[in-house]
Amino acid sequence: MSPMKLCVPGDKLCSAEDCIPGTGVYLRHGYIYSSLAGYVLRKNEGEELPVISVVRETETQLLPDVGAIVTCKVTSINPRFAKVHILYVGSTPLKDRFRGTIRKEDVRATEKDKVETYKSFRPGDIVLAKVISLGDVQSNYLLTTAENELGVVVAHSEAGKYQMHNMAIGLEALENSSTVLHRILAPCWTTRWCYLMDYLSTEKHLLGLLLPLEDCDNTCEKHVSVFF
């Protein structure tokens, strides 16, 4: 790696005509100055000017920003909204928990008024959500799960038996295993319902049954086929 230049806050890096400011720098009177103590990184985006930014080895505290995908844990529910603690922003863990709210209208994109928070979230669920607003003085971050990739990722049923996994991971693990029949749970996003499926690895078939998580236990008998 080529040696990178060290800089400290207040160092003049270059003029605003040579580079576009990135992170860790600020613009003043037509010049770009560093605002962190770290290394100067110049990246060529391809179009016009390179982007100049200052990076440190250790990442500083990241704040959830509008549009960021966050991982959070449900702490309490209410007929109108669910309160969560934000644990990760993207893939960076936060040192401190931020508080967020998922309103009833933001749980899913269709049939918004028929949402029942009790059926969608329970305290202790891990949810993937997106920040829609920083909120004002009184409220916390506002989050939404009304998109395809968002929703409950890990949940425990009342019996404590089944845990929902990411569907893709579950299927991958099965492809590699040798036994014939598996019963897996695949989450249906935005709710706590899941597919209880029998996977025949020889035939690569998935037979599935849509059930609420609480009813998933070993005595389930009915099967329906699911088309992929």
Binding site: M1, M4, L6, V8, P9, G10, K12, G24, Y26, R28, Y33, S35, L36, A37, G38, Y39, R56, E57, T58, E59, T60, Q61, L63, K95, D96, R97, F98, R99, L134, G135, D136, V137, Q138
Partner: protein
């Protein structure tokens, strides 16, 4: 007054320095691993420890949240054994509150708070005298409310000396290093120095004896590269003709301090990069 001459005829002060000479400045960054940023700074005999946490969600009264920037919360405290007379209340008294407020104003000018709306940055500074941090392997010590988890640090008590002047300046310098260590973006360093005026001569970096010896003292916090003043504080009597000279002397002294702090930061970065193998 017999004996104590603040500025001798040859131009030497009480501790043997010349009028524009600063005290010896030593500093170390990244002293506590559990805080987001920390620094220890010694200027002469005044020693300060600064610790920074943040930015994190607003704690305490949520009504103080600002929608467009971060709130900076400073607390200044003195160790009970640090002054000649043992202080009963380390913080919460008027002087500490005033000092905390000044620190807050200073750092609000330098830290780019608009990057962190609705959050809080905590800066804690503790001034203590008669204590030196030695890096010795394997000893974990607990002192006051600081639990030191960095396993290579031990606290060794020396004899108690008097709290040696220039408290505000030392706090600001230590806090600057701690904020840089925490990776919080700042426009520039903040360097501070206390200057006084004796016999038509400005004295840079006052010590305790000079501060209490009837010298008009002025504390200045400067952003050295732009030459911008973050805070100017004075509560003594000074003729207005001398003000210009005094501020000039203070700015020169601050630029001297900034050179030393710059060295410390660059060295810390180099050491850190060697450890991570870049």
């Amino acid at each position: 007054m017999a004996g104590l001459e603040l500025l001798s005829d040859q131009g030497y002060r009480l501790d043997g320095r010349k009028a524009t000479e600063l005290r010896k400045l030593q500093a170390r960054m990244g002293v506590f691993t559990q805080a987001d940023g920390s620094a220890y700074l010694e200027q002469g005999n005044t020693k300060a420890l600064a610790v920074v946490y943040g930015p994190h969600e607003m704690r305490g009264s949520r009504s103080r949240t600002l929608h467009d920037r971060a709130v900076i919360n400073c607390q200044y405290s003195m160790a009970t054994f640090s002054t000649a007379e043992r202080k009963r209340r380390p913080h919460g008294d008027r002087k500490s509150t005033e000092m905390s407020l000044h620190l807050k104003q200073t750092f609000e000018a330098a830290v780019m708070t608009q990057l962190y709306p609705r959050s809080q940055i905590d800066i804690y500074v503790k001034v203590r005298v008669g204590l030196t941090l030695h890096l010795v392997r394997g000893i974990i010590a607990e002192i006051d409310f600081f639990v030191i988890v960095h396993k290579h640090v031990s606290i060794v008590f020396q004899q108690i000396l008097q709290s040696d002047g220039g408290n505000y300046s030392v706090c600001v310098n230590a806090a600057t290093l701690a904020v840089i260590d925490a990776g919080i973006p700042m426009r520039d360093y903040v360097c501070a120095c206390t200057v006084g005026f004796v016999d038509e001569t400005p004295l840079a970096d006052l010590c305790y004896a000079e501060e209490n010896g009837g010298v008009s003292s002025l504390a200045l916090a400067l952003l050295p590269r732009g030459g911008q003043i973050a805070l100017l504080q004075m509560d003594a009597r000074l003729h207005q003709d001398h003000l210009e000279t005094l501020i000039e002397a203070a700015m020169t002294a601050c630029k001297g301090v900034s050179k030393v702090l710059d060295e410390v930061v660059r060295q810390h970065l180099q050491e850190a990069s060697v450890l991570t193998g870049e």
